[in-house]
Structures are given as C-alpha cells and as structure tokens.
C-alpha cells in the first residue's frame, strides 16, 4: 500500500457517487448509493487488512501543502482506523434501511448520506487541525438537512436545536485552535499531540474544546438536543447520529483534550466525573418513563456515553480501551436498536410504545434480534456491550470507588428501562390488531440486522480483533498521561497477614465428644 492514497480514495468514491445521485432517478440513486458505500466498505476492509499492527503510529499518510501552512494531510492510527471502520460499515446499512422508507427527493437524500460519509472519514483521518475542524463542522450540514428535510412532524425545531447546540460549542473550539497554532507554530495534529502547552493555558484550551465535545458526546446537561434530533430524524439518520456522530465527542477527547492538555485533563477530571455520574443516573431514570421508543434509546445513549467519558478520564489502559470499545459497541448496538424501531415504524408509522405488544408472536425473528441488541445494550457478557463497559468501569474503579459505584448502577437501571421496553413491545398479549398483523422481517431487513448482530457477538467473544490495532496508540497515550494521572482512592496498604484463617478451629483432642468415631 506504499504511497497509495487509499484514504483519499475512500473519500472520493462516496463523493463521486453523491454527486452522481443528483443526476439520476430515484431507483438509480438508491443503487448508486448502495454500490458507492459498499465499495467504500470494501476499501475499508482493505485498509484494515493492510494496517500494520505494531507498525508506525501514523499510517497511510498523505500530505499536500495548500496555503499559509494549511495542509491537506491525512493519516490514521488504530483508533481512527476502528472509527472509520465503524462508519463505513454502518453506511451501506443506512442506505438499505432507507430503501423503501424514503420516497421524496431520493437523490438528494442519498447524496446527503454519501457526503456525510466523506466527512466522517475525513474527520477521523485528518491530520491538520483546521482540516479536522472543517470536516468536524461540515458534518453538521448533511445531518441538519437529513433531519430538516426528511424528518418527522417537528423536524424544524429539532434541526435548529441540533444546529444551535453543536455550533455554539464549536466557536470556542475554533478560537482555541487559532491560539494553539500561534503558540506551537504548527497545525499538524501528531506534532500538537506531543507539544507541551503551558499548564495555565491548558485549562482554557481544555474548556474551549470541552464546550464542543461535551455537546457532541452529548454530556449532561447539554444533551437535550439528542432526543429531539433522534425522534425527528428518519431511521437511517438516527443510525448515523448514534453510530458515528456521537463518537466525534469521544474521539475529540482522546485525540485532542487528553494528549494535548494532559494536565488540564487531570485537573478537570472531577468535572467530567460529576457530569457523567449525573448523566448515568438522571438519563437512565428519564429513559425509564419514556413513551416514545426512539426517545428512550436516545436517553440510553446519553447514559452509555457517560461510561465512555469516565473511562477516558480514568487515565489508565483499561479505561481508555474500554471507552473505545463502548464507543464502537454503542455505535453498533444503538444503531441496531434504531433500525429495530425503524422496522416496526415502517409497518405501523408510530413510535408509541403502547401501540405495540406481543410482537414475539407474529414477528419471532424480529423479537430475537431485538432481544440480542437489548441484551447488548444492557451489557450482557458475550456481547460487545459488556467488554467495553467492564473495562471502562474497571478502569475508573482504580481512580475512584465512588465514581465506579455510581456509574455501575447503570447496569441495574439499564436493565430496568431496556427490559421494560422489551416487555411492552415484544411480550404481553397482542393488544392491537394492526400490530398483530405485522409481518416478520423480510430479506432486506435480515440483511441490515444480521451483519450487525454478527459483529456485536464477534466483539463480545473475541474483542482482540478490535483491541489489537488500538493497543499501541492507547499505550502511547497512557504513557503521555502517566505524569498527570491522578492517584486512586483505594490506596492499598500492606499489613501483616492476620494470623489464622477465619474459621481456624483448634485440633480436637481425640476421644472427646459423644459422637466421635
């Protein structure tokens, strides 16, 4: 792969297909989009296959000087590789999920998705600070359009809210970026990751980035755009929103906040922990009382993303790797859950939980998939959800038992709201004749759910495939953070072993006791 610009090619394919979509009919646009995303996915597989584990930190690098030190520079490490894989894997699924659900302006819709894919690959591959910013912010536009044009009844409000929230945070980040470039004299991300900013300035820079990433994550209390955006977005929009866009916040933390401002990260970790703890309990309880399926899953996303943030700010290998796996897993699982909602929404055109019931009877395979993703969301061992959650929480336990305890209550609350949802949808009697008449999954729906199910199990049983490419990068980051890492509250202190075992009993004298043999 030496010198072959595969990353640019991966962006070029969907770009070309996206432009093409404007000029062809509805059906041709669908096929063009599907083929475009599949080719990109195939290139992604090629990318992964050629990624050299244990090789140089930045691979597949490309760089073209543009103007004033601004560069078109691409390159990935293992972390970016995994997130790119997640994006290109979900994209064809999104296209298939929109196959029949989208009937108006199909060409434009498909183009929006393809442009989105370009921008998502770009954001993870960018090696120049401003290039990253452009991709990062431009990603808003197609999403804004997808919600605003193809969304539900209240789509305008939702799309404005989405735009307003995410943009306000970004302005501060842009200012911080200018300052950084002026200070360090370069906009090269790998160089900046090594650069030691003055400790005093780090705090302000960290806060400026935090404003943007916290919204994207989303962290409590700047999460309220998410439920509205999800509810109004078409199914595939929700999948990309949950699957990839929410990962930008976590990616931002791991790529910028932590390596560039390690001291500030350590100083302000308490803020992240506090917001995350609130998020786990608060949004889980809110999820419990939702009547709208998509809203419920949206709130559960906030709770899951809080596990990511505590894992990231645990400053140790388990926390960081766990956070990455939670991100990947959540991308798959919540994406799949939105697809599951989409499957029945397409049939009955309502997301109202009470309109369903007893779907295990008429849709047994649907119920099976839904169960698997529900269990993965709850973090059942053997699914991807467990590995990430377990590692992040194990990581945070080493820092703070309080944070670990509060965040681990998420496994109880998560089981509560997800099983309550599952019960109302799949269990019980068939209350509504129209819901009872729905047909089980068709071939297209099998094709979108089965691959995700397979990966969810793969990541749960053998996560090594996903951990291995990221290992060296996480280790580098961990080493960078080592000096700032906080002390845990466990403070193990050795002591002289207690003399005897708990139930040490003196040897009885023989022949004593009535029943002695």
């Amino acid at each position: 792969m030496d010198g072959f610009p595969i990353l640019s090619l991966m962006m070029l394919v969907p770009l070309a297909a996206g432009i093409g979509c404007f000029f062809v009919g509805a059906n041709a646009a669908r096929w063009l989009a599907l083929i475009g995303t599949l080719v990109t996915f195939a290139l992604g597989v090629l990318l992964w296959a050629n990624y050299e584990i244990g090789g140089p930190q930045w691979q597949f690098t490309e760089s073209v000087d543009l103007f004033a030190g601004f560069k078109y520079a691409l390159g990935i490490d293992g972390i970016a590789l995994m997130l790119i894989m997640l994006s290109v894997f979900l994209m064809p699924i999104c296209i298939m999920a929109s196959w029949t659900a989208i009937q108006k302006r199909v060409g434009e819709y498909m183009a929006a998705f393809l442009f989105m894919e370009v921008l998502m690959i770009g954001v993870f591959a960018a090696q120049d600070l401003f290039l990253f910013y452009i991709f990062f912010e431009a990603g808003l536009i197609p999403m804004y359009l997808i919600i605003g044009v193809w969304g539900g009844d209240n789509r305008i409000y939702a799309s404005y809210k989405f735009f307003l929230y995410t943009l306000l945070g970004s302005v501060l980040m842009l200012i911080a970026m200018f300052w950084m470039v002026a200070e360090a004299g370069t906009s090269d991300i790998p160089t900046l990751m090594q650069y030691d900013f003055p400790v005093g300035a780090q705090t302000w820079l960290w806060l400026a980035f935090f404003a943007s990433f916290a919204v994207k994550m989303p962290m409590w209390p700047v999460h309220t755009w998410l439920p509205d955006a999800h509810v109004q977005a078409p199914t595939a929009g929700s999948v990309i929103l949950a699957g990839v866009l929410l990962k930008l916040g976590g990616y931002g933390f791991i790529r910028f906040s932590l390596p560039m401002f390690p001291d500030a990260s350590a100083q302000l970790a308490w803020l992240v922990f506090a917001l995350s703890m609130v998020a786990v309990v608060y949004t889980s309880l809110v999820a419990l009382v939702q009547h709208d399926m998509k809203k419920l899953i949206a709130y559960s996303s906030v709770a899951h993303m809080a596990i990511v943030t505590v894992g990231l700010f645990a400053f140790n290998i388990q926390g960081l790797e766990g956070a990455m796996i939670v991100m990947l897993s959540h991308g798959l699982v919540s994406g799949a859950l939105f697809l599951c909602v989409g499957v029945i929404y397409d049939r009955l055109h309502t997301r109202e939980i009470d309109r369903y019931g007893g779907l295990s009877i008429n849709m047994p395979y649907y119920a099976l998939f839904f169960l698997l993703f529900t269990m993965a969301s709850i973090g059942l061992p053997g699914t991807s959800g467990f590995v990430g959650e377990f590692l992040s929480l194990a990581g945070i336990y080493q820092v703070s038992t309080w944070v670990a305890l509060i965040c681990t209550t998420g496994i109880i609350l998560g089981a509560g709201y997800m099983l309550y949802l599952y019960r109302r949808v799949a269990f019980g009697d068939q209350k509504n004749a129209d819901a009872a008449a729905m047909l089980d999954l068709d071939k297209r729906e099998w094709a979108i759910l089965a691959p995700i199910a397979a990966v969810v199990l793969w990541m749960g049983v053998y996560p090594e495939s996903f951990l291995a490419p990221m290992r060296a990068d996480i280790a580098t980051l961990d080493a960078r953070l080592a000096s700032a890492a906080p002390e845990g509250d466990s403070q193990l202190q050795a002591g002289p072993p207690r003399a005897a075992a708990a139930n040490a009993v003196p040897e009885p004298e023989h022949g004593e006791g009535e029943g002695a043999h």
């Binding site: 290998i317 681990t408 708990a502 009993v505």
Partner: protein, 663 residues
C-alpha cells in the same frame, strides 16, 4: 479433544439449532436434538466425577480462546475441571437431562416447544460455563448467561402480564447483586492485578492484613472484596433482601423451576463461595455476614413457606430456605458441607418440583393446594415420588443406625458443623437452623397432607370447573366434580423415578467422600480438617435435634391438616396480624415498591419534565431563541428607514469613538 469441550459446547450447539430452526425443524426434531445433547453431556460427566471420587483424576484447565487483553488485565475462555467442577457437572447435567426428558410430557400441548427446549439447553450451557470458569470474568459470563436464560424461561409464557413482570424482576434484582459482583472483580483486579481464580486464591492469604479505601472508608482489603462478591451471591441465590424475585419466578413452566430455580442456577452463589473459599477464609467479617444472612434467610423463608397456598410457591420458599443452610455452612467454614447440601438438595428439590409439576399436570394446571386433596390413590407414582422427596427434605434418618434419606446426611451435617464451630453467631445460626428444620417439616407435610390426603376439594378450582363444565353448586355432594386426575406419561415418570433414587440414596452414598475425604476435594475448596473432626464430636442431642424437630413438625402438620382441620383457621383468627405479616411475605414487595420502584419512576418523570424540558430547554436553546427573537424585534424598530434614527445612531457612535480615543 477433551470431553469437557463436548460437555459444555454440545448444549450450546443444540440450543442454537433448536432455537433458530424452530418451526422449520419441528417439535420432535428440536426436542430430540436438545435432549440427546444433554444426555450425552450427562453421560460424559459422570465418569469425570467418578474419577475424582476414586482419586484418579487431577485438576486441569482446557484453553479455548483468548478473550480480552487490556494492559495487565487479561482473561480467556477456558474450562477448568477439578473436583468442585466435577460435582457441579453431574448435578447440572443429570438434572438438566432429566428435566429435558420430563418436558417432553409436561410441555406436550405447548405450541412453542422448540423455543422452550432451546432455552433450556442455552441455560445449561451458561451454567456449565459458570462452573468451569478459571477466571472471574468467565464466571460472570456464566452468571449473566444463566440470568438471561432464567429471564427468558420465566417469561416463556410471555402473553401473561405476570410472567413478563416476574421475568424483569428476576433480571433486575439479580443485577443489583451483579453490581456487587462487578465491583468485587474490579477490587480484586486492583489488588491482585489478575482475574485468574487460582492466582487470586494463591495470593489472598498474603493480603489478609492489608487495608484499602472504599467509598471513603478504610477497610480490610479481603473483607470488602468478599462482601462485594457475596452481594452477587445473594442476588443469584435469592438470599434475604435480594430474595424477592425467586417466588415470582414460579411464573415459569414447572420444569424450569426444577432445573433453574431449585437445583442449579440458584446454587451458583453457594458455588461461588466454595470456589473462592480460600479467599473467603481470609475475610472473617465477610464470613460473619455470610453466616448471618444465611441463617436469617433459612428461618425467614421457612416461615413464609408455612402459609402459602400455591404448591410451587411453597417449594420456592423452601428452596430459598435451604440455600440459607448452604450459606451458613459456608459461613462457618464448612464449604464441603455446603457443597454436600447443594448436591443432595439438587436431587430432592428437583424431585419435589417435578412431582409438583406432575400434580399440576394431573389437576389441569391448578396450583392452589386448597383445591387438591385425596390425590394419593389417583396418581400413586407421583405420590410415592413426592413422599421420597419430602422424607429427604425433612431429613428422616437415625444417627445410630447410620441410615437416612439424602437430606438427613447433609442438613444434619450443616447443623452439626454450625454448632461445632462454637462462636456466638454460629450457634445462633444452629438454633435458627433447627427452628427452620421444624418449619420445613411442617410445611412439607402440610403440602403432602393438603395434596394427597383428605377429601377431594377439586370442584372449587376454576380450572377443574372449566374442564368438567360444572359449578360447585351443580356438583353438589360430589366434590370431585366428576373429574378424573390421570397419572403423568412415562416421559415424566422416568425422571421422577431416577431422582427418587438420588433423593433416597445420594446422602448415604456420598457422605464419606464429601464430608470426610480431604483427598477427594484435592484443594479445590478450603477443607477444614479440624472443623470436620469437631463436627463429628458434637453431643448426641445436637445430632438428634433435627430428627426431633422433624417429628414435631410432622405431628403439627398431621394435627392441623388431618386430625383437626379447623385448627389453622382458628390460629389465623387468633393471631391475624402474625398471619397477615407472614402470608404477605413480610411485606418485602410492598416495601421495595415504595422505596425503589415508585421513586425511580417519579424521579424519572421529574427529571424529564422539570429538568430537561422545564429547565435545560427553557433556559437553554429555547431561551437563546427567545433572546434572539426579542433582540431582532428591537433591532427591527431601530432599522425604521427614517434618516434621523440613523443620524442619531451615527452621532452616538462617533461620540463613543472619540471618547475611547481621547481618554
């Protein structure tokens, strides 16, 4: 290939085939595949157990696949086989195979049989992963896997709202325990930098004096770790405070109750304590808690068992109570005794449940014992099987003759060892255990008398009324309503017969190995030689105490339900508050509803309506939009188009600029 691989993975394979094949495969094929797989697993398990019994086998670990490598934290998929595992293998696979067979008859008319059998096999796989785990995380995998299977099987008849509710309750209450288990694993990793069970057990004694911070407290390291793990065990094994899910779990089909909620899954907590017994031995405070919780549960659950009318609920509370015995045996350091009671209990409790299933089958799904009566002659085989189970659970046996049913050997050992341990707490546990034994005998015989003796009261049952199309008034004198209970089919009777052998003989046959043979355990659990000697040396009154209270309990039940059947009603009339308290299960459900469930929903609504909508949105995005709108309105009035407005603003701006520059 090692036979353990077949034993563990064959049920998984069968579950996948039967589950995914489902209706394409058909009932008979699905049932044959799963049942066949389980009989093969069972057949392969016994030789392993016998090899350990004869001392010719050694512990080994079969590596299957890497699982997670994250920094220093690594754990793999691996199967550990040692004496402790071997005991569990025969228990799980034998009972599971028999329950599979039994379900051929019991679930005969169910439209959804492949799914049922797939779940049963899936459960067995998860349970096997649990007991063969060589690291704590795989144990947790099995732990949650059985939880999933239990959830699915409790909710098997998912059309019933009560089944769906019970399934969620079981899962969520177990998750409370799992919270403790997970934190325990994290603590262990923090202290030992490993999750491998043998490594932890080897390193634990050296850590016994160390201390650690937890939630701002400073505690003995091993105590807090053991307590956290025990919270997990309490959830899975339905111990006091986390027991509320088990009685509700009876919503599942009866074979499920026998396999999961009596013989195997609920004993996972006891197994965990025994597996980690060297660790628990370094944690005296934790063991004290184990003893107290175990003893309290065994007493508390037995009291409730005396008042319930539903035949399965009586047995469910009985299970809860018997698990309490196992825990306090472990708490006083007699892990082998705990395992022995687990072993015998698996046989006689499965027998009782399957017997109850046979009765329910005969009585057309009626589970209320008030509508049974006089069934002894109608279903004699079931009757004798239940009789053997009852004699086993009540622990009939005579010390000086050296003969007794299974429960005699194991329950008496539990009581004796608690007495022999000699601390205040262990002797209190002994006395609570004796009282619970009395209650056990009372409710077990009450169950037998109400079901098999007396006059038939069948016609009062709605299920029977539907069958014979008569009301009690129409039936008149004939309280049978003309209904003819029928003995169960052969597929149900064979498991009953085989389990009867276990209930009668398992104690007698295996007591020497389990209780006195340190070589049999071969270091797989903490074996306390001195305590065992002390156990055998307890006074005779201790050894006979269980038999004496068993006879008192029997006599009490005989008087109350056969000789003078009006006594229970009089008792209830005399002590209505006591009866209400016990009959309503000490009001735990009501309490938990009031302090956990309702507040959770209330807070959820408040956070949503007042927090998100009322505060964050109101002052956040909507507030910003409002400000923007207002200021644009203000700006609009300035941009009026009149020249003098612009001139005024220009002037003001000029003044401001000049002021800025000059001063």
């Amino acid at each position: 290939m090692h036979s353990i691989l077949i034993i563990v993975f064959l049920p998984l394979l069968a579950a996948i085939i039967a589950g995914l094949g489902n209706r394409m495969l058909g009932n008979v094929a699905a049932k044959s595949i799963t049942t066949g797989a389980l009989f093969i697993s069972a057949a392969l398990s016994w030789p392993i157990f016998l090899a350990f019994l004869s001392g010719s086998a050694e512990a080994e670990v079969v590596h299957v696949l890497d699982w997670v490598r994250s920094g220093d934290m690594t754990f793999d998929w691996a199967l550990r086989v040692d004496a402790l595992t071997a005991v569990m293998l025969v228990v799980i696979n034998t009972v599971s195979a028999l329950v599979h067979l039994y379900s051929w008859g019991y679930m005969e008319e169910d439209p959804d049989q492949p799914r049922f059998f797939a779940y049963l096999s899936l459960f067995t796989f998860a349970m096997l992963m649990l007991v063969t785990a060589n690291n704590l995380v795989q144990m947790f995998f099995g732990w949650e896997g059985v939880g999933l299977a239990s959830y699915l099987l409790i909710g098997f008849w998912f059309k019933k709202p009560t089944a769906g509710a019970a399934a969620i309750k079981a899962f969520v209450v177990n998750r409370v325990g799992d919270l403790g288990f997970m934190l325990g694993i994290f603590g262990i990793y923090l202290v030992f930098q490993t999750t491998s069970i043998p490594e932890i057990l080897a390193a634990a004694p050296a850590m016994s004096g160390s201390s650690i911070g937890f939630l701002g407290m400073r505690l003995y390291t091993m105590d807090i770790i053991a307590i956290l793990l025990f919270v997990g065990a309490m959830g899975k094994s339905a111990q006091l405070l986390l027991h509320t899910w088990l009685p509700d779990a009876m919503e599942g089909p009866t074979p499920v109750s026998a396999l999961i909620h009596a013989a195997t899954m609920v004993t996972a907590g006891v197994f965990m304590l025994c597996r980690l017994s060297p660790l628990f031995e370094t944690a005296p405070t934790a063991l004290m808690i184990v003893t107290v919780v175990g003893a309290a549960t065994c007493f508390f659950a037995a009291t409730i068992g005396t008042t319930q009318w539903d035949i399965k609920r009586v047995i469910a509370y009985s299970t809860c109570s018997q698990l309490g015995y196992m825990f306090f045996a472990a708490g006083v350091g007699a892990y082998n005794v705990a395992m022995f009671h687990l072993f015998t209990h698996a046989f006689f409790k499965a027998l009782l449940f399957l017997g109850a299933g046979s009765v329910i089958h005969a009585m057309h799904h009626e589970q209320d014992m008030r509508y049974y009566g006089g069934l002894r002659k109608h279903i004699p085989i079931t009757f004798w099987a239940m009789m053997a189970g009852t004699l086993a659970i009540t622990g009939l046996g005579v010390y000086h003759l050296g003969v007794g049913f299974a429960g005699f050997w194991s329950k008496d050992a539990v009581l004796e060892v608690a007495f022999a341990r000699g601390t205040e707490i262990s002797v209190t546990a002994f006395w609570l255990g004796v009282v619970a034994a009395l209650l056990t005998s009372f409710y077990s015989w009450r169950l037998m008398f109400l079901t098999f003796w007396g006059k038939p009261r069948w016609i009062e049952s709605e299920h029977i009324q539907h069958t014979v199309h008569k009301t009690p008034a129409e039936a008149g004198e004939d309280t049978t309503g003309g209904y003819h209970p029928h003995e169960s089919p052969i597929t149900m009777l064979i498991p009953l017969g085989l389990l009867t052998i276990g209930a009668v003989a398992a104690g007698q046959a295996f007591a020497p190995s389990f209780l006195d043979d340190a070589a049999f355990w071969a270091g797989s659990i903490f074996y306390n030689e001195n305590l065992m000697s002390a156990m055998h040396a307890v006074p005779y009154w201790v050894k006979y105490s269980a038999l004496i209270v068993m006879i008192i309990g029997f006599a009490g039940a005989y008087v109350a339900y056969i000789a003078k059947p009006d006594i229970p009603a009089k008792f209830v009339a005399a002590f209505p508050w006591l009866h209400r308290f016990v009959y309503n299960k000490w009001y735990f459900d009501e309490l938990y509803n009031a302090i956990f469930v309702k507040p959770a929903f209330w807070f959820g609504r408040q956070f949503w309506k007042l927090g998100d909508v009322g505060t964050i949105d109101r002052f956040g995005p909507n507030g910003v939009a409002w400000v923007v709108e207002r200021s644009s309105v203000a700006a609009k009035t300035i941009q009026s188009g009149y020249l003098y407005t612009y001139a005024l603003i220009m002037l003001l701006g000029l003044v401001a600029a000049v002021t800025w520059v000059l001063f």
